[in-house]
Symmetry: C2
Subunit: 413 residues, 2 copies
């Protein structure tokens, strides 16, 4: 089947899936989880083909690790599906309903979006997570994973479809594009009318390509150049703990901090303490002139550094003159993801919350909390850094849209 | 200034505008309304230049009518601004806030989107409406109107900015692109990072061009191939009244009906009565074979007819075998705008509401109600036919996004 044929089949099935009630959808998710565990061996065998090809291709160890599936990881995938089954179904909720002077009753009802296209890289667990979240939210899904994981993805989708088919689920609502050439993703990006939204997940290049080439609406996910600003009125212990956590608890993720801003009045006292703590994890600091005068052993930051999401044990540092300077700096260099202030000053906290332009703005907490699980959504399919439709963690609710339902008794205009 | 320079200025001003409180924004809107009335003469003079050029260019009478501004229309524009001032400010509302087990308080706060780009055609009143709605929702706006209205648009924006400047409003938040070549709109469509959303308003070609060429997120507005389905269990008088209203009350608008579906069991009795009523406005009917056998004087509909938004006194007709057939037909041919069923059957009404895929689905009311004013939003900037972010009328709330605000006391992960 061509990509367009897959999409047409998915669109058709999406109407049947949208009509399923919560019990039916949960039964499918639980059956999928069980069969994944039962057939873990098949998936591991397929995954070995990807790992061999990946090694031949010279993939890095960290990429090979992301690609690798063992029994534990497959059980984790299955448990992910079970957790999604446990979450409340967002579909069908009438968010509000009002009556107009002419008697029309107008309601906003939450409904599935329709067909969701996922474009992603080498992590086969994304395949299973995306299927689970899309089914629960009543959406058909078209999966376009990376070539590195194609054998694993085929094996996973085969198991998921087999489990679903037994329950008379409209299995055309789950489509894997087996052609992993550029052409297939290009085609996917222009199937307006068949695909309602594309969600790219992966590195900055992948996301940029999708944003620039897609005519289908996109939810941009991803990059996080996150800052921690330590205000003049910060508690030093709390500030050091938050900076250390935001930078080092997991450097490869988008909600980790990349840049430290410090108010000039406390820089002399604070920076040496903070640098000492960060040295426990050998974090390399790159600073402005003032921070260099306080920490003579660090390197000088370039303009480029302040724009960089290192995803590594590196952090840029800048001493700022004021809260306003910190906010201006953040709004210039950030990627609108997650930003934090550490302060005990009421006004500073309020101004920072109001004026920083980001999906999530924290007072006295680590940027690392921007995550669907940490927010209590139970799951997420990515973190949106755009402003339309979804901002921040994309959970089940964000995979729905609304439909106006209007009850009349003959009204004309 | 280049388009990019305008956009950079707008982005900078958007942060200042976002910080204005409701009183300050309302004062600006009221001052603009007053100055529009005071300087109506200047605007009418500028409009004359557009009208002369339009006549030379051979614009149709209906286009020239849309372009024309007289004192009454300018007073209407001013009153539009006053009405927007009267509407509640959506910005700043915390929609929900919850506390996590670790004590983090997580809230969703409504904030402006940032910079909104409007691409539209020859109606100068859109200029004023867009400025009013964007200011009230705290957004900067970049206006790219059609060349036909450029003198009018310049005159209107000059007055609006003059009124705003006196109140120390950040006037860079209002930008008119005076270059009306294709290049300027192309540039606008790719200014990711400076423009947060583009809203095209106008004909199908304009909207298609923006959807296909924009890398900035777009809210697709517009075309409405709307149906009225007369069910087996319909009240004939109500059905005729709704079909007549939906088709003829204003044929040029997107929420007017283009297609009539009738259940086969009542077609013989209903169609002649309905056709007679529609003949009062000389509506041309184009039907399927069965409808032709009942109404021998109508022409035969082609497949193309069922896809067509006539915006004229023409209506396609189809006799369907069942409710399910009607729904399948609608979901195939419609533009996801507005759809209506006329029925007294409870189950038919519920199934239609659930299964028809459109922004607005009506039971026993005319499709003509899909409109921000009719829904009680007080205003609208267009009607979205896409599923992301906004669906249906785009009012002040739809011109906002959310920001997560998180209050902690030192939480790390």
């Amino acid at each position: 089947m061509s990509v367009k044929e897959l999409a047409i089949a998915a669109k058709g099935a999406s109407y049947k899936l949208a009509a399923l009630n919560e019990s039916a959808k949960n039964a499918v998710l639980l059956a999928m989880a069980d069969l994944l565990c039962e057939k873990a061996g098949n998936i591991i065998d397929a995954n070995k083909l990807d790992l061999i090809a990946g090694k031949e291709k010279g993939l890095s160890d960290s990429l090979l690790d992301r690609l690798m599936l063992d029994e534990k990881r497959i059980i984790d995938m299955a448990n992910g599906l079970r957790k999604v089954a446990d979450l409340p179904d967002p579909v069908g909720e009438v968010i509000s309903m009002w009556t107009r002077p002419n008697g029309l009753q107008i309601g906003q009802k939450r409904v599935p979006i329709g067909v969701i296209g996922m474009i992603y890289e080498a992590r086969p667990n994304v395949t299973c997570d995306a299927v689970g979240l899309c089914i629960k939210s009543g959406n058909a899904v078209i999966l376009r994973g990376g070539s590195e994981a194609i054998h694993s993805n085929k094996a996973i989708v085969k198991v998921l479809k087999e489990a679903a088919e037994k329950l008379k689920f409209p299995i055309d609502a789950i489509q894997l594009i087996e052609d992993t050439t550029r052409e297939s993703s290009k085609e996917l990006m222009t199937l307006n009318g068949f695909i309602d939204v594309l969600i790219p997940r992966g590195g900055a290049n992948l996301i940029k390509t999708v944003v620039e080439n897609s005519t289908v609406p996109v939810i941009e996910t991803g990059s996080g150049n996150c800052h921690v600003y330590v205000d003049k009125f910060a508690d030093f212990d709390m500030a050091i703990s938050i900076v250390f956590n935001a930078k080092t608890s997991r450097v490869s993720v988008c909600n980790s901090a990349e840049s430290l801003l410090v108010h000039k009045d406390i820089a002399q006292a604070f920076l040496p303490l903070c640098a000492k703590k960060l040295s426990e994890k050998s974090v390399e600091l790159r600073g402005c002139d003032i921070s260099l005068s306080i920490l003579p052993n660090i390197t000088k930051a370039t303009e480029e550094d302040y724009y960089t999401e290192y995803n590594d044990y590196i952090m840029s540092v800048k001493v700022v003159d004021s809260l306003e300077d910190a906010i201006t700096h953040i709004n210039k260099y950030n990627t609108k993801h997650s930003e934090a202030i550490v302060t005990n000053d009421y006004m500073s906290a309020q101004i920072f919350l109001n004026e920083v332009d980001a999906a999530a703005v924290y007072v006295n907490a680590s940027t690392r909390f921007t995550d669907g699980f940490e927010y209590g959504f139970g799951a997420e399919i990515g973190i949106s850094t755009q402003k339309l439709h979804a901002r921040g963690p994309i959970g089940l609710k964000e995979l729905t849209t609304i439909k106006y339902i209007i009850y009349g008794n003959g009204q004309i205009r």
